[in-house]
Symmetry: C5
Subunit: 86 residues, 5 copies
């Protein structure tokens, strides 16, 4: 999984019906290329500025209540930025 | 998922039968390397210049009516470019 | 999916039995890093120099007649290089 | 799989229920871009500084006792850094 | 799939039970970034210096006799380096 910071919300009116009911957030990776923002589904209520844990690909499905074409999802809100060496 | 802009259409006459009936669009990533265009299936009717939300890999299958060897699909047309911090 | 150009053939005598019967072609990505060639299975009869559409990962399986450890496959031969903006 | 070094622990109180019971470690890739740290689940008890083998994507599920939205997991603790050519 | 050269062996005593019985080899990609070595399972008996074909992600499972958390596997040993244009 990757750690990232929530930067905003993505709104889509015309979308596949399977996506209805999920909120989609723009997430900036904490490590690596910060310019490669991704869009992740959210049901935990993460807010702008919060550090989150994002899972990707087919593993997302194990956190949904019905299969949906979504390849990134917020699975946790991180308590504090990790401290190296602990 | 990634956000991207529709740049054109890809036509293929000789293709696997499972792909018949889908439209394939060329999508330029909004974030990261804009030169790494991908080809995504579409059933929402996205047009050139529109900003779309693309899901990848096996998760695509959950948006299709029958399994098909397609690893990128447009799942939403974005209303407006996301505003950072909101 | 990615667009790529067929550059050659890969021959393997010692291989898993599941791979017997498939042809494997070397494909150069059209967009992004052209040096990152991949090997994709083929049943459409694509030839050297042709532009092809390649699907990846588990989605490959939906185009095979039996499951096989293959993560890239040619699903279409493209009629013409895509024209931007159309 | 990738080889990586455990650098720290990631704590998340607000998380999906499927993640309860797993420990999450920050792992620095040994090869490639060391700045692209990932977060991997762990049940082997890997400690900070240890070299580990990490599997990704849906394959993680085959090492869990119940499906969970986790896309990276430590599957082995490496005895010694690999010696090239042996 | 990618082509790569076997560079060494990875030993892990403390590992998930699902990995017992497989050999794990360090593979250097032939194309792209040679520094991004990966670890792939092997049952074909590939040796150091041999050129191999590696499949990734969930597709690995189709080459195993039981599901295992392994995301890269050697599926073929290549006869000769591919010749461009043939």
């Amino acid at each position: 999984m990757i750690l990232g910071t929530v930067k905003g919300t993505v709104y889509s009116t015309r979308k596949m019906e399977h996506l209805v009911g999920y909120k989609f957030l723009l997430v900036e990776p904490m490590y690596g290329n910060k310019k490669e923002l991704i869009v992740a589904g959210d049901t935990l209520g993460a807010g702008v500025g919060e550090l989150v844990l994002v899972t990707t690909d087919e593993t997302v499905q194990h956190g949904l209540d019905h299969p949906s074409p979504i390849d990134a999802f917020i699975v946790g809100i991180v308590d504090n930025p990790p401290v190296m060496g602990k």
